[in-house]
């Protein structure tokens, strides 16, 4: 374990989030987030709905920019890049969107072919072969000529993944890969993500609140709560925390409640203790 850590420290991170602060309309969504992703690993960012985990992801891929702090991706500071620079970088990573985000006016095959047609000088025949290879990787070769509206949610995610790996990216970002999928399909997608990481040697950043999925795929995990990172650690540490006894430390217990999906604990207590009586009295017009 200790060896692995030293080894990791020796390597340069390919994604580095430094003191990231972001607010929307006066509400602070991210309050000083620091994260690092190392080559070849899968980092899972987890947290409850609205905790800001998707916002972190959007900063990592350059669709949002921080109020203060910065994000380094593949050695470049995103704040310093102009649009062409950002576009050059975008060719080196892929994103799987929550809904798959396929272009609905194109067939599945054309969706995968689009990045190849737009960003390479390959001839049509080569592109056709590459599309078949990418679709086969995600187990979707038979759906090449179907429209996105004709395939299921799980297939859309697979197709979105095939499109994300079209240009052989170095990093893959996944936004809630198992959201809205049944457990079996969700497990299949997880398996697919692990296979791709193994086969292509890419690094992955996964945002999710599905704990089964998170524990299956993660090398390291980060727990985000109310815009703050509570803990970043290897999966084994989170497993130990999940399976261990209550510690009395509020932060630890809060993470444990989330990992176990318990209905009682610090998270729910926090929700219930926010001035309910005052709310009611105020609504009733009491002085």
């Amino acid at each position: 374990m200790a060896d692995k850590k030293t080894d990791k420290d020796a390597r340069q991170p390919i994604v580095r989030v430094v003191d990231l602060v972001k607010s929307f309309g006066g509400r602070v969504v991210l309050d000083g987030v620091n994260l690092e992703v190392y080559p070849g690993e899968t980092l899972v960012i987890m947290g409850g709905s609205g905790c800001g985990k998707s916002t972190v992801l959007r900063h990592m891929v350059g669709s949002l920019f921080p109020d203060t702090g910065h994000v380094e991706l593949l050695g470049s500071d995103l704040n310093d890049l102009d649009e062409p620079g950002l576009n050059a970088l975008r060719l080196r990573f892929g994103i799987l969107f929550q809904s798959g985000a396929l272009f609905n006016s194109m067939t599945v095959g054309d969706n995968v072919a689009l990045p190849l047609r737009e960003h390479t000088d390959l001839d049509a025949q080569t592109i056709e072969i590459m599309v078949k290879i990418k679709l086969e990787l995600v187990g979707l070769r038979e759906a090449e000529d179907l429209m996105p509206a004709e395939i299921s949610g799980g297939m859309k995610k697979r197709a979105g993944l095939a499109r994300a790996i079209a240009l052989d990216p170095e990093i893959l970002f996944y936004d809630e890969p198992s959201a809205g999928l049944d457990p079996v399909t969700s497990a299949e997608i997880d398996q697919l993500m692990m296979d791709l990481t193994g086969k292509l040697g890419v690094s992955s950043v996964v945002v999710t609140h599905e704990m089964d999925s998170a524990f299956r795929i993660a090398d390291r995990m980060a727990m985000l709560d109310r815009g703050v990172i509570l803990k970043v650690a290897p999966r084994s540490e989170f497993e130990a925390l999940r399976d261990g006894p209550e510690s009395g430390d509020e932060r630890q217990d809060l993470i444990r409640q989330f990992l176990r999906g318990d209905s009682e604990g610090p998270i729910t207590a926090r929700r219930l203790s926010t001035g309910y009586e005052d709310d009611i009295l105020e609504a009733a017009g009491a002085p």
């Binding site: 975008r90 892929g94 809904s99 985000a101 272009f103 689009l114 737009e118 960003h119």
Partner: protein, 271 residues
């Protein structure tokens, strides 16, 4: 700048509206600028982009051909029937084609075509792009280093611009034809006999050209408003519905406003 009762004062709300209008128009101008810049940089150079533009031309122009023709034929009939009663006592009924020609070519051809196209093409472009925003497709385009303006706006603006001009040529013909058929069947042969001849003596090339200039501007207005509204969509299906409605409303206001400005300019410069 709130009033005494805590409500925004008249000045405040007027200022907010003016500011809103300025920023909206500014947004349209910036979008046009980006579309022109990208076209200049070869957004239409790739075969796929040309195919996209051609597809949009079919969608915007060819599919609306029937409805534009029908509406403009009616306009010709209406003009003939409404102008006949005041002209007849003056013994000027045979001049009806001159009025139809000038009114149709200069104004009604482009304006009515623009209004039809704002519903036919503008609304569907706004709904389409708005739905793409909601489905994260725009973000996916950006994530693949594809500029949404180059990819979506340029072909649609180009197609609407070209088709608006071409449709107006056809619209002009249909207005003239509507007037001719009415003359032939309702007003009598003494009117229809010299119908085309009289129209040619009155119509000058500048009547035709001024109408087409306006048509081109209307085409830009409709497509820019539609794309802008579509790209600005927030909040799901409701946002898409709002964008669609606003596209039609703003397009019609924009078309009539631009027509007014152009008419004034043409009047001053005697064009």
């Amino acid at each position: 700048m709130n009033g005494r009762d805590g409500q925004p004062s008249f000045v405040h709300s007027l200022g907010a509206r003016v500011l809103g209008l300025v920023s909206y128009v500014g947004g349209l101008v910036l979008l046009l600028g980006a579309a022109l810049r990208l076209s200049w940089q070869g957004a239409l150079g790739r075969r796929a982009s040309r195919e996209a533009a051609a597809y949009q031309m079919v969608r915007v122009g060819v599919r609306s051909l029937g409805i534009v023709s029908l509406v403009q034929l009616f306009i010709g009939v209406i003009l003939a029937l409404q102008m006949a009663p005041p002209l007849e006592p003056l013994g000027q009924l045979d001049k009806i084609s001159m009025i139809i020609g000038v009114a149709g070519f200069r104004m009604l051809g482009p304006i009515i075509t623009g209004v039809v196209l704002s519903g036919f093409a503008g609304a569907s472009i706004a709904a389409e792009i708005g739905t793409m925003v909601v489905a994260e497709e725009i973000e996916a385009l950006q994530a693949h280093a594809l500029n949404p303006v180059r990819f979506l706006v340029v072909p649609r603006v180009l197609a609407t611009f070209v088709m608006m001009v071409l449709l107006t040529v056809i619209a002009n013909c249909m207005i003239a034809l509507g007037g001719y058929l009415t003359s032939m069947w309702v007003l009598g042969s003494q009117v229809s006999e010299h119908y085309w001849e009289n129209m040619q003596t009155q119509l000058r090339i500048r009547d035709f050209v001024s109408g087409l200039i306006m048509a081109g501007v209307f085409g830009l207005l409709i497509s820019l408003i539609a794309c802008y509204e579509g790209l600005r969509v927030r909040g799901g299906a409701e946002g898409v519905g709002r964008a669609t409605t606003m596209t039609v409303v703003y397009s019609i206001v924009g078309i009539v406003g631009a027509a007014c400005v152009f008419t004034a300019i043409f009047y001053v410069f005697k064009f």
